[in-house]
């Protein structure tokens, strides 16, 4: 404690110094991640905003035969025909029937354009890169491969660039006549 002084101004100033918070340093824009958060089943996922073209309501899915299970079909969005991936099948999450409440997130990475099926679009958010922690070792397999990390509030951040670069998602299958 400081020795008592008779000057009220001094006292008030001392109190203000004691109470004052140090201002947080302005976040470094390069250290921030712009994320689009969406929901799959009961889990929250996020992808980098820079790869997202737009989000669209889910409608008129055309089923495509002779495709892997994670390709749900193709949709027509403003004249562009895009395949629709279902991450639930990647991650082994429980499926529900498709409704028009589902959303399709249109993404583009390199020369690949496709739609990701999401139960709901939650929000756009910016988080520090530092807050993304590496995935726990319990997440293994493909999930472990596609993950960028997990935040403190259990937001699973996917590494969309790697997913899009994964040759496994390129379908090149011929069906014998």
């Amino acid at each position: 404690m400081n020795p008592p002084t008779s000057d009220p101004q001094e006292i008030l100033r001392a109190r203000a110094r004691a109470l004052a918070r140090t201002a947080e340093p302005a976040p470094n824009p390069s250290a921030m991640l712009d994320l689009l958060e969406f929901r799959l089943a009961q889990e929250r996922y996020a992808i980098e905003n820079r790869l997202v073209m737009e989000v669209s309501p889910f409608k008129e899915l055309t089923l495509l035969p002779c495709t892997p299970a994670f390709i749900r079909g193709i949709v027509n969005v403003r004249g562009r025909i895009l395949p629709v991936l279902d991450f639930k099948r990647f991650f082994g999450l429980p499926e529900v029937g498709l409704t028009d409440l589902h959303r399709i997130i249109l993404v583009r990475g390199g020369d690949v354009e496709l739609g990701l099926l999401a139960d709901d679009i939650t929000s756009l958010r910016q988080i520090p890169v530092s807050s993304v922690q590496p995935a726990p070792p319990t997440l293994t397999g493909i999930r472990g491969d596609y993950l960028k990390g997990v935040t403190a509030d259990r937001l699973i951040v996917l590494d969309l660039a790697r997913i899009l670069a994964d040759p496994g998602i390129i379908v090149n299958e011929e069906v014998d006549a």
Binding site: L36, V55, P57, I121, L124
Partner: protein, 575 residues
């Protein structure tokens, strides 16, 4: 003495009567003489009186003459005129009365001549005076002729008066001696008659009354039942003697009857009584009595035997009767108690019946009001049914409107979702624009926020609508159930109305029946009261019967003893 009692009485009182008759005759004759003497004396007094009156009238004539002559007033002639008439009347009377006396008649002739002369002189004097010759009249008076005539007249009258007074004295003396003689005769005759009657009475009394007194004494003893006295012997031949004989015979007869009665009393009925005569009532009665007694004793003996056996039977019967009466009294007492209990039960039943009747009346009234209530209820149920129908219609409309709201909400929700997507796309575009798109990013954020709010609101509205729809559905179902319930209620109300109608009829009948029951019960109670009273009377009668039976038993025993005693008594008689 051979005279009977009548002769003795006749002789004794006949002597006394004869003396009285003699005295009476003598007295009568003397009285006749006294009466004639008295008539003669009265005669003499009349003659003397008339002589005096005639002389006085003559003096009146003289006085009138003199007054007239002195005064000349005719008023003084009134005594003169009256005197003339009185002279004629009085001396005429004297002549009529003294016709039996020639001396007096002779003197009367002389007197009449003198009077005529004197009256003529007076008349002459008055006539002369009236003709105005008062002096000549005075001369006539002065001549003294009138005075001489008056003196002669007075002398003749005095002679006649002397004659009559002498006669009076003589007749009075005769009457006096005659009366004294009669007086003596009456006194002596009466005394003599009394003496004779007394002597006769004394003799008759001694001769008749004494024996009669003796007989009376004996009759008094016989009347008192003493037959031992003997009638004294008297051998007189007259009625008293006969009376004595009859009394003696009567005594003997009564004595023999008494002996017979003594025998009968001693129980010996073997004596035969012979009636003294055909009219001997006592003897005949005794003979009949003995005969009847024998017959009755025989009958009595048989009767006593019969009575004895009958009394024995009666004793047995009465003993049985007494025990039966006892038993019946006990039974009657029990019956009385039972009847009393039944009566109390009937009373309670009556009270209950009255209460039931009242209750039934009230129930009838209540059921009447219940009938009205069911009618009201039916009307109410009808109204409820209508209300339920309108509620159901409202519910249907509400449901439809809820569905419409749901559609609207879906639309709004859709819009919100699209807005949200648009906001996300806008944000993405803004992010792509970099620093330039920062402001747009804020707008996109706001739009997204609005879309989110819209979504939440629509969610709330949807949940509310869902609740409303659930509630509406429930309400519709409830309304349908309510309608059904109301329908059922209406039917039940109708049923209840019919039931209550029937119930009202039944209750009314029950009330009437209860009233009749109460009346019947009242009658029954009255009847039971009468029965109770009758049973009480029967009980008393039964108690009296028991007492009577006991008395009867005692009486029968007494009767039995009496029969035995009677038998013994009858056996004592020798028939």
């Amino acid at each position: 003495m051979k005279w009977n009692v009548g002769t003795k009485l006749g002789v004794g009182f006949g002597l006394a009567l004869a003396v009285f008759v003699a005295v009476g005759i003598i007295a009568y004759r003397s009285t006749q003489e006294l009466l004639s003497a008295s008539g003669l004396r009265e005669h003499t007094y009349i003659v003397l009186s008339n002589l005096a009156q005639g002389l006085s009238a003559l003096k009146d004539v003289e006085t009138g003459q003199r007054g007239y002559l002195l005064t000349g007033e005719t008023d003084y002639l009134e005594p003169y005129q009256a005197g003339l008439k009185e002279i004629d009347r009085s001396f005429g009377e004297v002549r009529k009365i003294t016709t039996d006396n020639p001396g007096q008649q002779h003197r009367l002739d002389r007197l009449e001549l003198l009077i005529k002369e004197r009256l003529a002189s007076s008349k002459e004097t008055i006539d002369v005076f009236r003709s105005g010759k008062s002096d000549a009249a005075l001369q006539i008076v002065k001549s003294g002729k009138d005075k001489a005539l008056m003196d002669q007249i007075r002398a003749v009258v005095a002679e006649m008066q002397n004659e009559e007074e002498g006669l009076l004295i003589k007749r009075s003396a005769e009457a006096k001696s005659n009366a004294e003689q009669v007086e003596w005769t009456i006194v002596l005759g009466t005394v003599l008659a009394l003496v004779i009657a007394g002597v006769a009475g004394l003799i008759i009394t001694r001769n008749i009354a004494r024996p009669l007194q003796e007989l009376t004494r004996v009759a008094e003893q016989i009347a008192g039942g003493d037959l031992s006295t003997n009638v004294p012997a008297d051998d007189r031949d007259d009625e008293v003697g006969a009376l004595f004989k009859s009394f003696r015979r009567m005594g003997e007869s009564l004595h023999s009857m008494a002996g017979t009665a003594e025998n009968i009393a001693a129980g010996d009925l073997r004596t035969n009584v012979q009636p003294q005569s055909a009219k001997d009532m006592l003897g005949t009665s005794f003979a009949r009595m003995i005969g009847d007694l024998r017959e009755q004793l025989r009958s009595l003996g048989e009767g006593a035997t019969t009575l004895g056996s009958a009394a024995t039977e009666i004793v047995a019967s009465t003993t049985q009767l007494a025990s039966s009466a006892n038993e019946s009294a006990t039974s009657v007492s029990e019956t009385t108690t039972t009847v009393e209990e039944v009566r109390q039960t009937a009373q309670m039943a009556n009270q209950k019946a009255k209460a039931v009747a009242d209750t039934a009346q009230r129930a009838a009234q209540i059921s009447q009001s219940g009938r009205k209530s069911t009618a009201d209820m039916a009307a109410g149920m009808e109204r409820i049914r209508q209300q339920m129908e309108s509620i159901a219609a409202s519910m249907v409309r509400l449901s439809e409107q809820g569905q419409a709201i749901g559609q609207i909400i879906a639309t709004v929700e859709d819009l919100a979702a699209q807005s949200n997507l648009l906001a996300v796309n806008a944000a993405i575009e803004a992010a792509k624009a970099g620093e330039h798109g920062r402001g747009f990013s804020v707008v996109a954020q706001e739009v997204k926020s609005l879309a989110e709010q819209s979504r939440q609101a629509t969610n709330q509205v949807r949940s509310i609508l869902s609740d409303i729809q659930k509630a509406t559905t429930a309400a519709v179902m409830a309304t349908e159930q309510g309608a059904k319930a109301v329908e059922a209620g209406t039917k039940q109300t109708e049923t209840a109305g019919e039931s209550i109608q029937a119930l009202t009829g039944s209750v009314t009948e029950a009330a009437q029946a209860a009233t009749q029951i109460a009346a019947s019960s009242q009658q029954q109670l009255v009847g039971m009261d009468q029965v109770a009273i009758a049973m009480e009377n029967i009980k008393q009668a039964s108690t009296q019967n028991v007492a009577s039976a006991r008395q009867l038993e005692t009486a029968a025993r007494n009767l039995n003893e009496l029969g035995q005693r009677l038998k013994q008594l009858v056996e004592r008689y020798k028939v």
